[in-house]
Symmetry: D2
Subunit: 304 residues, 4 copies
């Protein structure tokens, strides 16, 4: 059930549910997992960068992981384990894998810049979590401040056998998918699963470029499932039609800060979580923004 | 014909046309202006941040401005005059206004951070270009690295009589429009024209929030004209429909770097400029990207 | 024993001692505290930005604090409690104060930029740690990326009664001390203790400008004690002479990354900690750098 | 007289002199060159990053270069030609070399990050200025935001025959000098001159590490001449003594922004330029700062 270089499909990035008092809402983890399962996703990713993971204590993080994994059952759960020190990273990863997680996702430290620094960092990180832990390499420069070239990605995946998935969210990043696919096809790097993020904002193009699927947190995961499914099947016209209908709201959710507030609001409206609450400090959804979201999603959930 | 606090409509941000050898293509300035005129815009902005202005010599910048202004005739031309020194800023602005420009656009220096620094900078800049020069304050944090609060904007527009237009491109930035409109309505700051940018990516929401129009460079300015026109008329449903049809490609053009390449490619395909060439160093449009653009715009120009 | 607006003297920023296997070395906490006590400092600050605090688990952080506080006895211990969420911040602060700490040090979150955001952040943070917890406001833009104006500092210290100390490490920052002193003298803001950091690189000038003392981690705290003591006594010539003799090495320790490695190396050589080990990932001290340090400190410890 | 891989000694980075009205002060260029000549430097660098070059028009830049070159006579003059476009870069470089300059200095564009981007940029830049123009590669990450690894530097100097000097100002950067020297000695890269900058703040250590000299703008260039001379002669103790005496003020001048104001103030006090004026916007030297500078340099110019 662990991630492999041939992993395909949709991994929904789950927010961490809180109740109004700011406590982790474990009951909502159950409803959220059920929501994702019904939407048809192939897996769930928890403790992602946008999952308010930095606001959890170490203990809470582990409890959240265990609850997601135990609830998800046969649905694979990937765990974000990025940390300033490799010791913490390994500690969380070991705990998650022991609980039954499918892999560990690692973003580069913000202090990295040269190719050698980045390559060395992932070598150390992949070693720290252990050879039997499948690793997702997160490439999200707008957030991390670290730009990873195609050459460096090829080296990371060649050097570390347990690095099997790329969470691709460079912007612009479409040519990077093509370059990686060409490298893989020509034997320049091993097979690797390319799951795209960035809120799904370019998922249509990404599937045409050869992405293996999506790993992102859009509040309508069934749309991701449809787009990725049709994309993998080569049904590009139907894929584009489905995608385009969602783009006006999908774009809205992709705004930094307020995007997470909108996403939690919609997940709450859809019954997936009991409260849209975030832990402070946070970006609130204004009354006007809520109305905007309601308007933009009205067409996407006509029966609501 | 100069900009005023009640300016409304669409100001197309024009790229600088070059020929294949890298020379400024003055003939294409003429066809480009004609293209904009036919699309129904209310004005043109030249030497914007994305107009490759940094790659022009001082002399070339002035010649580009004069050619645009003389060609545009009664169509107002706004000129980007941002510069590290106020002396250069004033020099270019004076030259542009003498040639008949409608106003000067100024972005904050990247070194600014505190409220006082930003406020003082715009006071000095508004003074440098002269009291009779209408000023567009450019608020584009993703590009400038400078975040300007609503309070500071209110102070800038209150303190400087010639500051009359806000080029709004904060991200997220919708609540900022609402906050500014509330301040204006309650007398907390003077009337000001709010023209939104950011590639038009949120123009639908911006018009509902009270924007005065758009100032951006999308390669289908007629779409901006329709969206702004319907938005100002309160025809929001028709506005949304027009906007949504363009969003898949509009989003594509909004990518950093490659977006300008795509935009010039489309303007060239549409006959507005003789060549899509940029000055080096540049981001090229790959074969796959060109195909992607062709696909995304096919529905937007069915007769092509 | 808690921090107050009239706190003066030297607060040594303590590194976190680790053994060669990467475990927190609690025995070295004892020798380190003894070392600081002998050097004549007025207090100790733990879990500072350079204290590898980000590489500690929540549990380890609390244990480190308790060990320092219990060992320090009547020597005040200030605790760095900066955290992405106010809940964690309050949790660590509450635990530290209950153990007997003298105050909590808080740096602004990297996402802040406008005056209002910064002011609001410190209002929330000062409230989160509780009115009875003395707060040190850390102003270190080179590290945090957040530039806090004198006006904003005045507001923070005026609005929050428990904000009593400024850890000043802006660069350049000398005029800021003068501006704050002028504001305090003219009643524009309440009395506040200004303890300077930045490795002590400008401590001579800072004392002339009216600093209350130093809060930094230089490996020769007795020099800080002498400089601050003479500075507070107005013995500026003797102060300068003492300072100048240390500047060649002091400058060396102030280098980012490698500075901490040098500091731990010297503290180890001086018998203050059992090992210079850091937790991975880290910046190592090359053979040449060690020789350089040995050379630069030779004159400072002639008997060694 | 052009720069070569065996260039050694001190290249003084000259500020651009302005008169009180903000005009370039060509008469002061003459006195400044004479000042540098008397101080014993081996060359002068103009239009450096701190030379307010961004506030000059293209025309002024060329006039400044020509005046420096014609005044300097047999003293080599290096010209900063960094520019957003290669066309401008080549234009200024061609003009400078035709006037008799000794080389062109190029900093990386702020948009670069990966090894390939940096390598490609310098290949294009070295080509743009022409094979017969000696190039100084400027490595100043704190200012440019671009971190260049030793590996990439080796590639740049190996790939481009006209790249002959490294202006080294990484921080920390001492191990980089050692690494480059080792690479050169082992045949891993060609011979290259390493002239260090960063205000001279680590010049003592840099000379011991194998630097070829200094290229920086300290207001007492005779100190740089003595330190580099003694360092190249292996008289390290005398070198250190000379250096240490200047460090308290040298450190002061190395502050961002205000450092240039201090430097111009001292150069003015020493009679090298007629006015300390900068072009707006600028960082002013407060009354307290002036007093501080006076105090710190009193010991360095006892007869003053």
């Amino acid at each position: 059930m662990g991630l492999t270089p041939t992993t395909r499909g949709v991994y929904a990035i789950a927010p961490t549910p809180f109740d109004e008092s700011g406590e982790v809402d474990h009951a909502s983890i159950e409803t959220l997992v059920e929501f994702y399962r019904r939407s048809g996703v192939d897996g769930i990713t928890v403790l992602g960068l946008l999952g308010e993971v930095a606001k959890l204590t170490d203990q809470e993080s582990r409890e959240v992981v265990r609850r997601f994994v135990s609830t998800a059952g046969d649905l694979p759960v990937v765990v974000g384990v990025s940390a300033p020190g490799f010791r913490q990273m390994a500690g969380l990863s070991d705990d998650a894998m022991a609980a039954g997680a499918a892999g560990a996702m690692i973003a580069p430290a913000a202090t990295l810049s040269t190719d050698e620094q980045i390559t060395q960092y992932f070598a150390n990180a992949c070693s720290a979590v252990g050879a039997s832990t499948p690793v997702v390499v997160q490439d999200f420069p707008l957030n991390s401040g670290v730009r990873i070239s195609t050459t460096v990605l090829a080296r990371i995946f060649s050097d570390n056998d347990n690095a099997v998935v790329l969470k691709h969210e460079d912007w612009p990043g479409l040519d990077k998918i093509t370059a990686l696919r060409n490298l893989i096809d020509s034997g320049g790097m091993p097979q690797v699963s390319i799951l795209t993020g960035f809120g799904g904002a370019f998922l249509d193009c990404e599937m045409r470029r050869g992405a293996s699927g999506a790993m992102t947190g859009y509040a309508f995961p069934e749309l991701l499932v449809e787009v990725v499914g049709r994309g993998l099947a080569g049904e590009f016209d139907a894929m584009q039609e489905a995608f385009d209908a969602h783009l006006p709201y999908l774009r809205y959710e992709q705004q930094p800060g307020i995007g997470l507030a909108a996403r939690k609001y919609v997940l709450h409206r859809r019954g997936a979580i009991a409260s849209a609450a975030q832990r402070v400090p946070t970006v609130a959804l204004s009354e006007q923004s809520r109305a905007e979201v309601d308007h933009l999603i009205a067409r996407l959930m006509p029966s609501a």
